[in-house]
Symmetry: C2
Subunit: 417 residues, 2 copies
């Protein structure tokens, strides 16, 4: 029998307890052993819960409990969770966590401490077994590129906007449906996706980076003009987490992205998640499914417990011995190359287009397509560019923004092809 | 160091040798050990090859070689491969195979013999790590349903037919491109997909069935009228391998299927493969990627070698101890329920529709939609039905076929919703 303690018994924790009980027999035959949850750690003992396991408020009754084999951390947050997980590892417990923020900040420190199995399938894309796919299924490959729809809230909002609905209206609805938090910044600002991207990137590239180090932009400025442009030119707009290896530099970025309609990942709509991975041997594979929700997330947590119960010992971040041969470094944000779409609202004056075209040309940016839409009292200019560097496009935008005829802040979206 | 012998050095075998060498460093760091191919077994020593490993024609120099840890079987076929793999297992070698036919017939016997790790990721859907997803990533779930596009040739042909191209023309092109064999029956007849489906089903349900036991229909009778009907009613036509659990009966079937355009799996076009899996806890997840080709398949084979090199011991068919609690049996073909689409060509006579409707009603089959298309000299009647049993629809079709006004064999396609 494998004995499990859970630290943090909220929505996911309750689902783990409930589903281990519900599927007890099949889990036992797949794991080769019975799995039993023997203790839960909570903040409030008096809160009404649907489950029936012994509870405590002292996490050390789990992390230092000689009876317990596996500690499952589901409390969320960074500092306290780090303390708990570290204590569990130091007491030789195997660890399972669903905590993306903890891993976004401390995965390499935890890897150093961990002498026992450490699994975290639920930390990225909920029920999709993307950690195992990347770490085990694609282990023969150099990973060339990862593109992930790894925030369901953003994908839901962008999908609804395709029907012509306004950003704020859809956001409010998503909040009412429970897809989005009261303060939605963490989701719509791209930070949640960034945490997940960093975890995937460390498996693919063994690269240590923190959320503060990488390019993160949210979907707050997308409007219906952008949606229209996308339709007109055969794109979808998705918030993507992107990791790419270009020679020995790793690009990591989260931002709204225009991608061609015929790419498989652009067909993923609603709250669903998907991660496309390009390996040098296998080519592109993609993994699709529910990225959130108690049950879906509990499926990933329990699969980790089963993996440990089977006696398997996987390298935590995909590498069992340090990869010295291939020193990678994080690409500077300014140096990242992309194609761009620009939306510029201007007064309807003579010579405006000429001036903008001049500024772009001066900054070495060439225009790929152009669309002009008259609006009430002003004109919208929509450009897409050929590839240029982040610092070049930002310099050009700054310069254009200073012109008198520009009447609204310029918006831009990166294009992936 | 882990030493590997390969039995069968064709396209996939050569790719395995080449890619283990190419990605040597990253494979070593992911496996924790160096992986070295020390011998290959071939039929013809004089054939020119692009690789540089010691070769022999005697498989026992691999299966009984005390130096070798893992035997990789890539020779294909059933009987001889069974002999080789059995000999390897009896000599305590770990085994990796890409051989779907071998597993379709002998997986349960091999499971009994195997006391060493036995991995077969490449046997289903080439480079997509679907075996690991089902066996490890979704291990917490009762699997409710599997739907797979697991034959790239069929998917390529059906995708091209959507452009209005004729079946025979596209098949010939697929043969020229190397997607289809000179004798295409194994692919277009659904047998290749059936082998793969049986492997997936045994992981999901622990069910032992042979290709002869299950419903297998190919795509040979699909024509442009069917494609038109699908378009008109919002469907795609895909050759699917379907496994479903309904109470304690398992439905296994391979056939062309009408599925709604908005389902994720219906968006998979060209030679690509995809498998959708519905688990009772996680809901639907889907796995997409290249289903064939030397490099893609070698990615799966090498990932299996790495898994074994890590020291992991996974239950071969997903179950570590026999699942006694849940006895499942194969559902009889006649009892399978589905919705159907019927294509009936008739002479343009009075009362025809009435007679057909009468036969359908008599057999308890109710019509969901109906479309009549005039053709040169005759009329095409296209029906879709509500759910009925296989034996009911076949009885009705037989009866309708006997009517004088029917001028061509009736064709039907099952509808999944």
């Amino acid at each position: 029998m494998v004995k499990v303690g859970i630290v943090g018994v909220g929505t996911v924790g309750e689902a783990v307890v409930k589903n281990i009980l519900k599927n007890r027999e099949i889990i036992k035959s797949r794991a080769g052993k019975e799995i039993k949850i023997v203790k839960g750690v909570v903040r409030d003992l008096n809160k009404k819960r649907d489950i029936n396991i012994p509870l405590t408020t002292n996490y050390k009754e789990v992390t230092q409990n000689p009876e317990i084999d596996i500690v499952v951390e589901l409390m969320g947050g960074v500092d306290k969770a780090y303390e708990v997980v570290k204590d569990a590892l130091l007491h030789k417990k195997a660890v399972v966590t669903a905590n993306k923020a903890l891993l976004a900040y401390h995965r390499f420190e935890l890897q150093k401490i961990a002498k026992t199995p450490f699994e975290y399938e639920a930390s990225v894309a909920g029920g999709i077994p993307i950690i195992k796919a990347l770490r085990d299924g694609l282990s023969a490959n150099h990973i060339l590129e990862i593109k992930g729809i790894i925030n369901g809230t953003c994908n839901y909002i962008l999908t609804e906007m395709k029907k012509g609905r306004d950003y704020n209206e859809v956001l409010k609805e998503a909040q009412n449906k429970g897809y989005a938090e009261a303060d939605p910044t963490f989701d719509v600002g791209g930070f949640d996706a960034a945490h997940k991207l960093l975890i995937l990137a460390s498996i693919a590239y063994n690269i240590d980076a923190k959320p503060e180090d990488i390019l993160i932009e949210g979907i707050e400025n997308i409007n219906l003009t952008d949606i229209e442009f996308a339709k007109e030119f055969g794109y979808e707009i998705k918030l993507l987490g992107i990791a790419k290896k270009i020679s020995n530099e790793i690009e990591l970025r989260v931002h709204p992205t225009l991608i061609k309609k015929n790419e498989m990942i652009s067909k993923v709509d609603g709250v669903m998640n998907a991660v496309s991975v390009v390996g040098d041997i296998v080519g592109e594979t993609m993994y699709y499914g529910p990225g959130a929700g108690g049950d879906a997330t509990s499926s990933a947590v329990i699969s980790d417990i089963i993996e440990i119960a089977r006696g398997n010992k996987n390298p935590m971040l995909g590498y069992k011995i340090p990869l010295e041969i291939e020193k990678v470094s994080l690409k500077e944000i300014d140096e990242i190359e992309s194609k761009y779409y620009l939306r510029i609202a201007v007064n309807d004056e003579v010579g405006v287009l000429e001036k903008i075209a001049h500024i772009l040309a001066k900054n070495n940016i060439s225009i790929e397509s152009f669309l002009q839409k008259p609006r009430n009292g002003y004109v919208k200019l929509l450009f897409s560019t050929h590839k240029c560097k982040e610092k070049e496009i930002k310099k050009a935008i700054n310069e254009i923004q200073k012109q008198n005829f520009v009447i609204k802040p310029i918006n831009f979206i990166r294009i992936e092809e």
